[in-house]
Every structure is written in C-alpha cells, then in structure tokens.
C-alpha cells in the first residue's frame, strides 16, 4: 500500500516536473526564429530528405539539399536542422560557401519520438528558406541505458 502510494507520488511528480523542464527548452518555432534572426523563413528551395517511417531512432540518415548556384554572388552560407521533441531543439548547423560547389550535407541523427523536423538555409542575400517533414518513429533513441 505504502509503496503504491509512493509510486503514485512519483508519478504525480513526474507529471508536474516534466512539463516544467520542457518549458525551459524553447519551442521549435522559437528556436527557428532565434536562428533566423529578423528573416522570415519561406517554404521552398530546401529539401530535407529523411525516411518518413523510422524503425530505429538511434541513427537516422538525413540529407539537406538547397537549390543554389553556389557562386560568389549567390550561395548558401548556413544550413540548420531543428527538431520538435528531442530534449534540445538544435540538431546541427553547417557552414558553407561558394567553394563547396553544391549545397548538400548529410549526417545521421537521433530521434527520441515521432516528431517534426525542420531544415533551414540562410542564403548570401540574407533570405531564409525551409522544409519541414513529419517523421514517425517506432523505436525511439535515448531510452536504452
């Protein structure tokens, strides 16, 4: 009886504390806004390639491609990747320039649960473009000890 009451108390604590902890981490929209600065992200030019159904969230291949000539006059300066429901909103940031020739980066990421991912690109003219993808994760990362 006592232990079940204690369990209830722990569960209640978890319910109360978890959202409070989560609130300390900015929302996806706030994180994107902070990165974009004054620019308003527009849909297009960016392609976020990721499996929409992920069986194992521990190492999910992602590729971000941006439609850009990558010349000195017009190129991508930065690509950023954000998530909605991992403990932290940031995933990675990539710094590019005309010497890259092609605005394309790949990596492998962790997904704690089904959620939205957003890839953004900042261009040399200051404009910001985005592509968002909703991903379903059946085996989450970060749960194994």
């Amino acid at each position: 009886m006592r232990s079940s009451r204690r369990n209830t108390a722990i569960a209640l604590l978890a319910v109360v504390i978890a959202p409070a902890l989560r609130a300390a981490e900015p929302t996806l929209a706030a994180a994107i806004q902070a990165w974009a600065g004054g620019a308003m992200p527009r849909d297009g030019r960016v392609t976020l390639q990721i499996a929409e159904l992920v069986e194992n969230g521990n190492a999910v291949p992602v590729t971000v491609r941006v439609d850009s000539p990558m010349t000195a006059a017009a190129h991508v300066t930065e690509i950023a990747l954000f998530n909605q429901r991992n403990p932290q909103r940031e995933v990675a940031r990539f710094h590019l320039g005309p010497h890259n020739g092609r605005a394309e980066v790949s990596t492998r990421i962790r997904l704690a649960t089904s959620q939205r991912l957003v890839a953004l690109a900042r261009l040399s003219d200051g404009s910001v473009w985005q592509h968002q993808v909703d991903v379903l994760v059946t085996l989450a990362a970060c749960i194994e000890t």
């Binding site: 521990n58 190492a59 999910v60 590729t63 990558m70 998530n83 991992n86 403990p87 932290q88 940031e90 995933v91 990675a92 940031r93 990539f94 710094h95 590019l96 320039g97 005309p98 010497h99 890259n100 020739g101 092609r102 605005a103 394309e104 980066v105 790949s106 990596t107 492998r108 990421i109 962790r110 997904l111 990362a141 970060c142 194994e144 000890t145």
Partner: protein, 107 residues
C-alpha cells in the same frame, strides 16, 4: 584508446568538379540526458565542432548537438579547384580533439 576517423574522398579528383567528402569519427556522442543502471545521469560528451580546411582556409564547418548520432557521420561537397592539404578536425567536451590530414590530389 586512440580515436579513429574514416575519411573518404575521390583521389585523384577531376579538376573543377564537385566532389563529395565523407567523414566518420569514432565517438560516443553521449547526450547528457541518459541515465546509467543506477539512475545516475551520464555526463555529456559531445564532439561539438567539425572543421575542414584546405591549406588553412575554412572549406566547411559543422556545429553538432546531442541529437547527432554516435560516431558522427558528415558528408559535404567541395569544388576541386586547387590541390592542397585537407585538414579535418573535431573538437568537443572534455578537451576532445582529433585531427586527420589528407592530400587533395587533382587529375
């Protein structure tokens, strides 16, 4: 144990072409959010910065967060305009530092 890193790039690279460079670093990328069997939080251990330089000038850089999977893999493009020495470096938590050097040979 010595850290290992794998780097793939075409050699020689056709002059003027855009090549793909792929890098994998052996690193746990411990998130700082996981607990061990005794409920203790595992300290964060992240390789947080990657840089690729050609003869000293920065060609590509990445800031990595705990959401990047263990043994971080990065692939990026580079226009093979000039030959030189490519230096790949990773830095991170706990003074982590690893560096690899590869020649960029043009055909």
């Amino acid at each position: 144990m010595a850290t290992r890193a794998l780097i793939h790039l075409p050699s020689p690279a056709p002059r003027g072409s855009v090549i793909e460079i792929r890098c994998t670093l052996q690193h746990p990328m411990e998130t700082g959010h996981r607990r061990d069997g005794n409920g203790r939080l595992q300290p964060r251990d992240i390789a947080s910065r990657f840089e690729c330089r050609l003869d000293g000038s920065l060609m590509f850089a990445a800031d990595l967060y705990p959401a990047v999977a263990a043994n971080p893999y990065l692939a990026f493009a580079l226009r093979a305009d000039r030959a030189g020495s490519l230096v790949f470096s990773w830095t991170g938590d706990g003074g982590f530092r690893h560096q690899e050097t590869r020649p960029l040979v043009l055909a």
